[in-house]
């Protein structure tokens, strides 16, 4: 396992902001504007996925449900992120592990990363 985190969002500035926050903390970050596929998740083997709900032409909830229903990827933690107040309900519906409400606090992003990546690996890298 790595400290690699996949961030999926259709907004470049959000991707850059997330990259800065996580890389400053020593995580390896890969980003996608078009949403991850099962194949890309298998190939990249991220330790955690931050997944936006409203991506251009793509519904993050469907992506999450697909990841969670495939036995090769269902173990990868998925955090659903959105500005929608109902993100908690959406997360339950599609089997996401947690939520990140936009606009988010840096500390909240790091808390989630810590919880889902490092607490399961027994230590920090970087």
């Amino acid at each position: 396992m790595t400290d690699r985190i996949l961030v999926a969002d259709d907004d470049d500035a959000i991707l850059e902001g997330m990259r800065l926050i996580l890389e400053d903390e020593g995580y390896e970050v890969i980003t996608t504007r078009t949403g991850p596929t099962i194949e890309s998740v298998i190939e990249e083997r991220p330790a955690l996925i931050f997944l936006d709900i409203w991506m251009s032409g793509l519904d993050g909830r469907n992506v999450c449900a697909a990841i969670k229903s495939d036995k090769r990827t269902h173990g990868v933690p998925v955090i659903l992120s959105s500005a929608n107040i109902d993100v908690g309900r959406f997360a339950k519906e599609c089997g996401a592990d947690d939520i990140l409400t936009k606009p988010f606090e840096l500390d909240e992003v790091l808390r989630l990363a810590e919880r889902y990546v490092r607490s399961t690996q027994g230590g920090r890298r970087g």
Binding site: D11, A13, G17, D24, I85, G88, P103, E105
Partner: protein, 526 residues
């Protein structure tokens, strides 16, 4: 004056309830009279003197009958088989300006009625003779003296002993004034912009104004006399049906706006109990609903789109803050921290706009669960102290219990009340958050020693977009949404909000929530 009597029996038959057949006048001086019940009795060798006495009695009865009928304003008359007058009371004679002798034996053509009307009346008399059924109708009429009026009349069959129609009796009433009032009402109802319909106790349309005809694209013939359920089957099972039945059965007025799928349109309806039946005012609000939806959609998208750049700016600011802190540049770190605070304010404003949209479109959701009130009060108070260290905020009392409600939304209410008080309280004053519980619920009040609110304005503070005016337009910042949102959040959780204030002596804003305002574990519960 009596019309000339053409045979005793004929005139007797004009009396209500009498069905004498015309008697034959025997050459022997005897008459054969047929009793009304059909039993015949023969009077043989009746003396002429007795017969004359009988005739005199009958003529006296007729005079009484005529005098009686001539005291009423309505016209009363009888016709023979050919539609000729046998009798007319004084009122009709006066209208026509003729004598009793002049009218007998004449039909409507002879009396100079307009051809169209005379033909119609003649046909209706014939119709009564043939069908043995009465006719009710109305007509405008101008008498020879120029008196104009509108008349309602009824022609009834007078039956002979053998069941055939012997003559037609009728009466006519001047309904000019009633028509004028009806016409005035109709003009008023037609001139109002709403569609208006009246429905009787059998749910049949009795009146439909022009707007209703246009709106429902029906003619009066399609609706009048038909039941509302036959004319609009889509109403069955709808919220409209429930409102109509409430008005008819429980005598309750109500108003509602709903979508009618059969028309693909939105209607705003006001229903009132009437006597008899109900009245319905209808307005097509489809366009307004479409515009509202466009506005709601726009605000929802705009709020979402505004939050996206705020999210990234916030991320950049926080990364910068951490880097400045790590490099020891605390001054820059503080500046970036202030930037972050402003971004939070911006986020709250966007959230308020989104909340108003949700409240107005009925989409606001509550995730209710059991939570302790006191920790929430402390949490919110601590949170606001971080951004506003002054004035001092003091918590007074405690609830000591838990309630079932949406914790986040309830916290939002307290945050709004506190933010509002801070805005108006002097910096060196104290704001008191008082918490208490009763057997049914929990009350939280926020008291400041600010400028206070006049009695008239107290009624407005929970209205949408209400803002307190200061010396300058922007003296007191805000969109005027916080108290409106708070009030809606509390009301929708079956609680209540209030304000107590006196100008110059501070204000107390409070809310009360029931112990179980929300259903725990409802869909959407986080």
């Amino acid at each position: 004056m009596l019309a000339p009597l053409d045979g005793l029996g004929t005139d007797l038959a004009t009396l209500p309830g009498m069905t004498h057949q015309p008697p034959t006048r025997p050459q022997s001086g005897c008459a054969v009279l047929v009793h009304p019940d059909g039993d015949a009795g023969e009077f043989s060798a009746m003396r002429v003197a007795d017969l004359r006495k009988l005739v005199q009695q009958q003529e006296q009865q007729l005079r009484v009958f005529d005098a009686t009928l001539s005291t009423i304003a309505d016209f009363a008359y009888t016709f023979d088989r050919d539609g000729r007058f046998i009798y007319s009371n004084r009122s009709l004679l006066d209208l026509l300006g003729i004598t009793a002798e002049e009218i007998v034996g004449k039909n409507f053509f002879d009396l100079g009625y307009p051809t169209e009307l005379a033909t119609r009346l003649q046909h209706q008399i014939e119709h009564v003779f043939v069908t043995k059924e009465h006719v009710v109708d109305e007509t405008p009429f101008t008498g020879p003296t120029g008196a104009e009026g509108y008349y309602e009349y009824i022609f009834r069959p007078v039956f002979a002993a053998d069941g055939s129609v012997e003559m037609v009796a009728g009466s006519t009433r001047d309904v000019t004034e009633r028509r004028r009032v009806q016409e005035q009402s109709r003009q008023i109802l037609d001139s109002i912009s709403d569609a208006f319909m009246a429905v009787d106790t059998d749910w049949r349309f009795t009146y439909v104004n022009q707007q209703a005809e246009r709106l429902l694209t029906r003619t009066p013939g399609d609706l009048l006399g038909h039941t509302i359920w036959d004319a609009f089957p889509g109403l069955l099972g709808s919220s409209f049906e429930r409102a109509y039945r409430r008005a008819a059965e429980d005598r309750e007025s109500s108003s509602l706006t709903d979508y009618y799928p059969n028309h693909g349109r939105w209607y705003e309806v006001h229903v009132y109990p009437a006597d008899p039946g109900i009245t319905i005012y209808l307005r097509d609000v489809t366009q307004r609903k479409c515009l509202e939806k466009q506005k709601d959609d726009f605000l929802a998208v705009a709020s979402h789109e505004l939050k996206t750049p705020v999210s990234s700016i916030k991320a950049f600011a926080q990364v910068l803050g951490r880097r400045f802190t790590a490099s020891g540049d605390m001054e820059s770190a503080t500046l970036v921290g202030k930037m972050d605070n402003q971004l939070n304010k911006l986020t709250n404003l966007i959230s308020d706009l989104l909340d108003v949209t949700r409240i107005e479109s009925g989409q606001i959701r509550f995730r209710s669960h059991l939570f302790e009130v006191d920790p929430l009060v402390r949490e919110i108070t601590d949170q606001i102290r971080l951004t506003a260290p002054e004035p001092v905020i003091r918590i007074d009392g405690c609830a000591g219990c838990s309630i079932v409600a949406d914790r986040d939304r309830t916290g939002q209410v307290l945050m709004n009340l506190l933010s509002n008080s801070i805005k108006f309280a002097p910096v060196d004053s104290e704001i008191v958050v008082a918490v208490s519980a009763d057997s049914d619920g929990v009350a939280v009040t926020v008291t400041d020693s600010g400028m206070g609110i006049s009695r008239e304005r107290q009624a407005l503070v929970f209205d949408r977009f209400y803002r307190v005016l200061g010396p300058e337009p922007d003296t007191y910042p805000g969109l005027g949404l916080g108290l409106f949102i708070s009030a809606e959040i509390v009301r929708r959780q079956r609680g209540r909000v209030w304000v107590e204030s006196e100008e110059g002596a501070g204000s107390t804003f409070g809310f009360w929530l029931p112990l179980s305002g929300g259903e725990p574990g409802t869909p959407g519960d986080d």
